[in-house]
């Protein structure tokens, strides 16, 4: 089972993972990555009160599906699910979910890390921070570009 989804509602990571392993005996490794909204204060000490995620409807799903196809070409996966939320997200809430299943742990780990790195830099989502009255658009990180680039360097 392979699926990508964009939604505003909170997702249930364990239910998504269960769909990849329940009633099967060929899955040896199941990796679930959940990205969550942190309340980290900024340099001025203002804690984050919310994230607002804007996305490009249509392209977001297509780009996620293309990344998933690339992962399936590179690793022997028995299943994978990507769920990405949009809209207003509070600290402590989940933002993104990647679940990968494979016979072997190396493939499940590598595919999950790959998908997350590519989502960060290529999926058309943009985060805006609310910090009380302040806030603003999150700048892209060079470290994320470097993380994504390592999958094409080898």
């Amino acid at each position: 089972m392979f699926e990508v989804r964009v939604q505003s509602a909170v997702f249930d990571a364990s239910a998504e993972a269960a769909r990849l392993s329940d009633a099967r005996t060929d899955v040896g490794a199941l990796v679930t990555f959940t990205g969550l909204c942190r309340a980290d204060p900024d340099a001025a000490g203002a804690p984050l009160t919310a994230l607002v995620l804007e996305h490009y409807p249509g392209m977001a799903e297509e780009e996620m599906a293309r990344h998933l196809d690339t992962a399936r070409e590179r690793w022997p996966l028995t299943g994978a699910v990507i769920v990405h939320r949009h809209g207003r997200i509070l600290p402590g809430e989940p933002i993104v979910l990647v679940v990968t299943a494979s016979a072997h742990r190396e493939a499940a780990f590598a595919a999950a890390a790959f998908l997350m790195d590519w989502l960060k830099t290529n999926a058309p989502f943009w985060k805006k921070e609310e910090r009380g009255a302040a806030g603003g658009w999150v700048a892209a990180k060079a470290s994320d570009d470097a993380a994504a680039a390592r999958w094409t360097a080898d």
Partner: protein, 83 residues
């Protein structure tokens, strides 16, 4: 041709989308960005630093030198910060 804007490009332009008919000499994505920037102050502000503007043609990431001929939808946006 439909042009979409996201994140702070949308905020600076003041709208999420518009339909434009650029002249024949506008061949590439970079040409279109320059042509749009010349429209008014809001567009000029959105495109003031072309190095931080990314583009997609018909929902696929492209480089600034990509030709726009035959494209139905072009989107401009800052580097992605999802995940």
């Amino acid at each position: 041709m439909k042009v979409l804007y996201f994140a702070w490009l949308r905020e600076r332009v003041g709208r999420a989308e518009e339909t434009v008919e650029p002249p024949a000499e506008v061949v590439t994505v970079a040409d279109l960005a320059r042509w749009l920037a010349a429209k008014d102050e809001a567009h000029a502000h959105a495109f003031e630093n072309p190095a931080v503007v990314r583009a997609a043609l018909d929902r696929r990431h492209v480089k600034p030198d990509a030709p726009i001929a035959g494209v139905r939808e072009i989107a401009f946006f800052p580097p992605m910060t999802g995940g």
